[in-house]
Protein backbone atom coordinates (compact mmCIF):
# COMPACT_ATOMS: atom_id res chain seq x y z
CA UNK A 1 0.00 0.00 0.00
CA UNK A 2 1.67 3.20 -1.11
CA UNK A 3 1.33 6.10 1.27
CA UNK A 4 1.83 9.38 -0.55
CA UNK A 5 0.05 11.51 2.01
CA UNK A 6 1.37 12.38 5.40
CA UNK A 7 -0.53 13.55 8.46
CA UNK A 8 -0.83 16.98 6.82
CA UNK A 9 -3.05 15.63 4.07
CA UNK A 10 -2.23 16.27 0.42
CA UNK A 11 1.33 15.14 -0.22
CA UNK A 12 2.16 18.00 -2.55
CA UNK A 13 2.24 20.70 0.10
CA UNK A 14 4.28 18.68 2.61
CA UNK A 15 8.04 19.01 2.80
CA UNK A 16 9.86 16.19 1.05
CA UNK A 17 11.85 15.13 4.04
CA UNK A 18 8.83 14.50 6.17
CA UNK A 19 7.30 12.03 3.78
CA UNK A 20 7.70 8.41 4.73
CA UNK A 21 9.68 6.12 2.48
CA UNK A 22 7.44 4.82 -0.29
CA UNK A 23 7.22 1.10 -0.67
CA UNK A 24 9.25 -0.01 -3.64
CA UNK A 25 7.07 -2.31 -5.71
CA UNK A 26 9.08 -3.16 -8.82
CA UNK A 27 12.62 -4.25 -9.40
CA UNK A 28 14.68 -2.77 -12.22
CA UNK A 29 14.19 -4.59 -15.49
CA UNK A 30 17.18 -6.91 -15.29
CA UNK A 31 16.00 -8.41 -12.01
CA UNK A 32 13.22 -10.92 -11.52
CA UNK A 33 12.25 -9.91 -7.99
CA UNK A 34 13.01 -7.00 -5.71
CA UNK A 35 14.65 -9.32 -3.23
CA UNK A 36 17.04 -10.47 -5.94
CA UNK A 37 17.95 -6.85 -6.67
CA UNK A 38 18.59 -6.05 -3.02
CA UNK A 39 20.65 -9.19 -2.53
CA UNK A 40 22.69 -8.43 -5.64
CA UNK A 41 23.57 -4.99 -4.29
CA UNK A 42 24.49 -6.50 -0.95
CA UNK A 43 26.65 -9.17 -2.56
CA UNK A 44 28.45 -6.49 -4.56
CA UNK A 45 29.35 -4.69 -1.36
CA UNK A 46 30.53 -7.94 0.21
CA UNK A 47 32.78 -8.59 -2.77
CA UNK A 48 34.34 -5.19 -2.26
CA UNK A 49 34.71 -5.86 1.47
CA UNK A 50 36.46 -9.14 0.67
CA UNK A 51 39.10 -7.17 -1.24
CA UNK A 52 39.40 -4.81 1.72
CA UNK A 53 39.94 -7.77 4.07
CA UNK A 54 42.83 -8.84 1.87
CA UNK A 55 44.14 -5.29 1.70
CA UNK A 56 44.31 -4.93 5.48
CA UNK A 57 45.27 -8.58 5.83
CA UNK A 58 48.56 -7.89 4.09
CA UNK A 59 49.38 -5.16 6.62
CA UNK A 60 48.51 -7.45 9.50
CA UNK A 61 50.77 -10.13 8.05
CA UNK A 62 53.63 -7.61 7.97
CA UNK A 63 52.83 -6.62 11.56
CA UNK A 64 52.93 -10.23 12.73
CA UNK A 65 56.27 -10.83 11.04
CA UNK A 66 57.87 -7.86 12.77
CA UNK A 67 56.24 -8.70 16.08
CA UNK A 68 57.62 -12.21 15.89
CA UNK A 69 61.09 -10.90 15.10
CA UNK A 70 61.09 -8.03 17.66
CA UNK A 71 58.72 -9.19 20.41
CA UNK A 72 60.49 -7.39 23.26
CA UNK A 73 60.70 -4.12 21.29
CA UNK A 74 57.00 -4.35 20.45
CA UNK A 75 56.14 -4.73 24.14
CA UNK A 76 58.19 -1.67 25.05
CA UNK A 77 56.75 0.37 22.19
CA UNK A 78 53.21 -0.63 23.10
CA UNK A 79 53.73 0.71 26.60
CA UNK A 80 54.32 4.14 25.09
CA UNK A 81 50.84 4.09 23.59
CA UNK A 82 48.02 6.02 25.23
CA UNK A 83 45.83 3.16 26.45
CA UNK A 84 43.09 5.46 27.73
CA UNK A 85 42.75 7.18 24.36
CA UNK A 86 42.79 3.84 22.56
CA UNK A 87 40.16 2.31 24.81
CA UNK A 88 37.91 5.36 24.52
CA UNK A 89 38.35 5.31 20.74
CA UNK A 90 37.40 1.64 20.60
CA UNK A 91 34.31 2.41 22.65
CA UNK A 92 33.48 5.34 20.37
CA UNK A 93 33.79 3.19 17.25
CA UNK A 94 31.75 0.33 18.71
CA UNK A 95 29.06 2.85 19.65
CA UNK A 96 29.10 4.25 16.12
CA UNK A 97 28.50 0.73 14.80
CA UNK A 98 25.66 0.49 17.31
CA UNK A 99 24.03 3.69 16.05
CA UNK A 100 24.62 2.53 12.46
CA UNK A 101 22.86 -0.77 13.19
CA UNK A 102 19.97 1.19 14.71
CA UNK A 103 19.83 3.33 11.56
CA UNK A 104 19.61 0.19 9.39
CA UNK A 105 16.91 -1.26 11.62
CA UNK A 106 14.98 2.03 11.42
CA UNK A 107 15.16 2.29 7.64
CA UNK A 108 13.83 -1.25 7.33
CA UNK A 109 10.84 -0.10 9.35
CA UNK A 110 10.50 3.01 7.16
CA UNK A 111 11.10 5.47 10.01
CA UNK A 112 12.42 8.50 8.16
CA UNK A 113 13.32 10.83 11.00
CA UNK A 114 14.99 8.26 13.23
CA UNK A 115 17.22 7.12 10.37
CA UNK A 116 18.55 10.65 9.92
CA UNK A 117 19.24 11.04 13.62
CA UNK A 118 21.06 7.72 13.91
CA UNK A 119 23.13 8.48 10.82
CA UNK A 120 24.10 11.88 12.25
CA UNK A 121 25.10 10.18 15.53
CA UNK A 122 27.26 7.76 13.59
CA UNK A 123 28.94 10.59 11.69
CA UNK A 124 29.48 12.52 14.94
CA UNK A 125 31.08 9.55 16.65
CA UNK A 126 33.30 9.00 13.61
CA UNK A 127 34.50 12.58 13.84
CA UNK A 128 35.16 12.16 17.58
CA UNK A 129 37.26 9.09 16.78
CA UNK A 130 39.31 11.01 14.22
CA UNK A 131 39.74 13.88 16.68
CA UNK A 132 41.14 11.59 19.39
CA UNK A 133 43.36 9.90 16.81
CA UNK A 134 44.68 13.28 15.68
CA UNK A 135 45.45 14.18 19.27
CA UNK A 136 47.34 10.89 19.67
CA UNK A 137 49.34 11.55 16.51
CA UNK A 138 50.24 15.00 17.82
CA UNK A 139 51.45 13.50 21.09
CA UNK A 140 53.61 11.06 19.17
CA UNK A 141 55.14 14.08 17.48
CA UNK A 142 55.86 15.90 20.74
CA UNK A 143 57.23 12.73 22.35
CA UNK A 144 59.53 12.19 19.36
CA UNK A 145 58.14 8.82 18.44
CA UNK A 146 57.84 9.36 14.70
CA UNK A 147 60.19 6.89 12.99
CA UNK A 148 60.36 8.44 9.54
CA UNK A 149 63.67 9.21 7.86
CA UNK A 150 65.17 12.47 9.01
CA UNK A 151 62.98 12.67 12.13
CA UNK A 152 64.35 12.46 15.64
CA UNK A 153 63.24 9.13 17.09
CA UNK A 154 63.61 9.08 20.87
CA UNK A 155 63.93 5.41 21.91
CA UNK A 156 67.45 4.04 21.82
CA UNK A 157 69.23 0.90 22.83
CA UNK A 158 69.04 -2.61 21.48
CA UNK A 159 65.30 -2.43 20.82
CA UNK A 160 65.44 0.74 18.75
CA UNK A 161 65.02 -0.97 15.37
CA UNK A 162 62.07 -3.00 16.62
CA UNK A 163 60.38 0.07 18.11
CA UNK A 164 60.86 1.92 14.83
CA UNK A 165 59.16 -0.99 13.07
CA UNK A 166 56.29 -0.84 15.57
CA UNK A 167 55.68 2.86 15.07
CA UNK A 168 56.07 2.64 11.31
CA UNK A 169 53.36 -0.01 11.30
CA UNK A 170 51.29 2.02 13.75
CA UNK A 171 51.23 5.13 11.57
CA UNK A 172 50.76 3.12 8.37
CA UNK A 173 47.92 0.94 9.59
CA UNK A 174 46.02 3.45 11.70
CA UNK A 175 46.60 6.04 8.99
CA UNK A 176 45.05 3.90 6.29
CA UNK A 177 42.29 3.00 8.73
CA UNK A 178 41.68 6.73 9.29
CA UNK A 179 41.45 7.26 5.52
CA UNK A 180 38.77 4.56 5.43
CA UNK A 181 36.98 6.32 8.28
CA UNK A 182 37.03 9.59 6.34
CA UNK A 183 35.62 7.84 3.27
CA UNK A 184 32.98 6.24 5.49
CA UNK A 185 32.03 9.61 6.98
CA UNK A 186 31.79 10.98 3.45
CA UNK A 187 29.46 8.16 2.40
CA UNK A 188 27.35 8.58 5.51
CA UNK A 189 27.10 12.32 4.95
CA UNK A 190 26.03 11.72 1.38
CA UNK A 191 23.24 9.31 2.24
CA UNK A 192 22.10 11.40 5.22
CA UNK A 193 21.78 14.41 2.93
CA UNK A 194 20.13 12.35 0.19
CA UNK A 195 17.57 10.93 2.58
CA UNK A 196 16.92 14.35 4.09
CA UNK A 197 16.39 15.86 0.65
CA UNK A 198 14.12 13.00 -0.35
CA UNK A 199 16.37 11.64 -3.12
CA UNK A 200 16.82 8.13 -1.76
CA UNK A 201 13.18 7.22 -1.53
CA UNK A 202 13.01 3.88 -3.29
CA UNK A 203 16.42 2.47 -2.51
CA UNK A 204 16.92 3.78 1.00
CA UNK A 205 16.96 0.42 2.77
CA UNK A 206 19.52 -1.08 0.40
CA UNK A 207 21.81 1.94 0.35
CA UNK A 208 21.78 2.47 4.12
CA UNK A 209 22.37 -1.23 4.65
CA UNK A 210 25.34 -1.32 2.27
CA UNK A 211 26.98 1.82 3.68
CA UNK A 212 26.39 0.22 7.07
CA UNK A 213 28.30 -2.84 5.92
CA UNK A 214 31.27 -0.64 4.99
CA UNK A 215 31.14 1.16 8.33
CA UNK A 216 30.97 -2.08 10.32
CA UNK A 217 33.94 -3.33 8.35
CA UNK A 218 36.00 -0.27 9.32
CA UNK A 219 35.01 -0.90 12.95
CA UNK A 220 36.01 -4.54 12.60
CA UNK A 221 39.50 -3.57 11.41
CA UNK A 222 39.93 -1.33 14.45
CA UNK A 223 38.80 -4.19 16.74
CA UNK A 224 42.01 -5.93 15.67
CA UNK A 225 44.20 -2.82 15.47
CA UNK A 226 43.46 -1.93 19.09
CA UNK A 227 44.90 -5.02 20.83
CA UNK A 228 47.77 -5.28 18.36
CA UNK A 229 49.08 -1.80 19.11
CA UNK A 230 47.79 -0.93 22.55
CA UNK A 231 47.78 -4.28 24.35
CA UNK A 232 51.06 -5.96 23.41
CA UNK A 233 52.38 -7.85 26.40
CA UNK A 234 51.15 -7.01 29.88
CA UNK A 235 50.62 -3.46 31.09
Amino acid sequence: MLRSDGPAGAGVTMELRQQPFPVDDHPDEQYVTLTQQQETAELGMWLFLATEFLFFGAFFAAYLVYRYLHSRAFELASERMDLVAGTINTGVLLTSSFTMALAVASVERHETRRVGRFLLCTIGLGIVFLGIKGMEYFHKFTERLIPFAGWDFAPGGATRAGEMAFFNLYFLMTGIHAVHMIIGIGLLSWITLAIWLGHLRRRAATVVHNVGLYWHFVDLVWVFLFPFFYLVGAH
Binding site: V23, V107, E108, V223, P227
Partner: protein
Protein backbone atom coordinates in the same frame (compact mmCIF):
# COMPACT_ATOMS: atom_id res chain seq x y z
CA UNK B 1 2.67 -7.64 0.90
CA UNK B 2 3.46 -4.04 1.66
CA UNK B 3 7.03 -4.19 2.89
CA UNK B 4 9.80 -5.35 0.59
CA UNK B 5 12.92 -5.05 2.68
CA UNK B 6 15.08 -8.13 2.84
CA UNK B 7 14.70 -8.45 6.55
CA UNK B 8 13.08 -6.55 9.36
CA UNK B 9 15.23 -4.75 11.87
CA UNK B 10 15.13 -5.72 15.51
CA UNK B 11 16.26 -3.09 17.96
CA UNK B 12 16.58 -5.43 20.90
CA UNK B 13 19.14 -7.61 19.14
CA UNK B 14 21.23 -4.53 18.35
CA UNK B 15 21.26 -3.49 22.03
CA UNK B 16 22.23 -6.96 23.24
CA UNK B 17 25.10 -7.27 20.77
CA UNK B 18 26.34 -3.78 21.62
CA UNK B 19 26.31 -4.64 25.32
CA UNK B 20 28.26 -7.83 24.61
CA UNK B 21 30.83 -5.88 22.59
CA UNK B 22 31.39 -3.41 25.44
CA UNK B 23 31.79 -6.27 27.91
CA UNK B 24 34.37 -7.86 25.61
CA UNK B 25 36.20 -4.53 25.35
CA UNK B 26 36.40 -4.35 29.14
CA UNK B 27 37.57 -7.96 29.23
CA UNK B 28 40.32 -7.46 26.70
CA UNK B 29 41.67 -4.37 28.47
CA UNK B 30 41.34 -6.02 31.88
CA UNK B 31 43.06 -9.23 30.88
CA UNK B 32 45.88 -7.24 29.30
CA UNK B 33 46.84 -6.09 32.80
CA UNK B 34 47.76 -9.67 33.73
CA UNK B 35 50.99 -11.16 32.50
CA UNK B 36 50.41 -14.39 30.58
CA UNK B 37 53.59 -14.13 28.53
CA UNK B 38 52.78 -15.22 24.99
CA UNK B 39 49.30 -16.04 26.25
CA UNK B 40 48.51 -12.33 26.19
CA UNK B 41 48.61 -12.41 22.41
CA UNK B 42 46.22 -15.35 22.16
CA UNK B 43 43.81 -13.88 24.70
CA UNK B 44 43.72 -10.62 22.76
CA UNK B 45 43.28 -12.36 19.40
CA UNK B 46 40.52 -14.62 20.74
CA UNK B 47 38.56 -11.75 22.22
CA UNK B 48 39.03 -9.68 19.05
CA UNK B 49 37.85 -12.65 16.98
CA UNK B 50 34.79 -13.01 19.19
CA UNK B 51 33.99 -9.31 18.81
CA UNK B 52 34.39 -9.49 15.05
CA UNK B 53 32.17 -12.57 14.91
CA UNK B 54 29.44 -10.65 16.74
CA UNK B 55 29.86 -7.67 14.41
CA UNK B 56 29.79 -9.91 11.33
CA UNK B 57 26.85 -12.04 12.33
CA UNK B 58 24.59 -9.44 13.88
CA UNK B 59 25.55 -5.88 12.91
CA UNK B 60 26.44 -6.91 9.37
CA UNK B 61 23.51 -9.32 9.42
CA UNK B 62 25.37 -12.27 7.96
CA UNK B 63 23.29 -14.53 10.19
CA UNK B 64 20.06 -13.33 8.62
CA UNK B 65 21.35 -13.32 5.06
CA UNK B 66 21.47 -16.07 2.52
CA UNK B 67 24.37 -18.52 2.57
CA UNK B 68 26.15 -16.91 -0.38
CA UNK B 69 26.82 -13.83 1.74
CA UNK B 70 28.24 -16.05 4.46
CA UNK B 71 30.45 -17.69 1.88
CA UNK B 72 31.86 -14.32 0.84
CA UNK B 73 32.23 -13.13 4.42
CA UNK B 74 33.98 -16.20 5.80
CA UNK B 75 35.50 -17.49 2.57
CA UNK B 76 37.85 -14.53 2.67
CA UNK B 77 39.43 -16.22 5.69
CA UNK B 78 40.57 -18.96 3.34
CA UNK B 79 42.53 -16.50 1.23
CA UNK B 80 43.92 -14.77 4.29
CA UNK B 81 44.89 -18.20 5.54
CA UNK B 82 46.90 -18.81 2.39
CA UNK B 83 48.59 -15.43 2.78
CA UNK B 84 49.44 -15.89 6.46
CA UNK B 85 50.23 -19.57 6.11
CA UNK B 86 52.87 -19.22 3.44
CA UNK B 87 54.43 -16.12 5.00
CA UNK B 88 54.82 -17.80 8.37
CA UNK B 89 55.95 -21.09 6.85
CA UNK B 90 58.74 -19.12 5.24
CA UNK B 91 60.25 -16.80 7.77
CA UNK B 92 59.72 -18.87 10.92
CA UNK B 93 61.67 -21.75 9.40
CA UNK B 94 64.63 -19.79 8.08
CA UNK B 95 67.99 -20.90 9.37
Amino acid sequence: MTSHSIRHGSDREVFVVYGALLVLLAATVGLAQVNFGWGNYWVAVCIASLKSLLILLYFMQVRRSRSLIGLFAFGTLLWLGILFGFIFADFTTRT
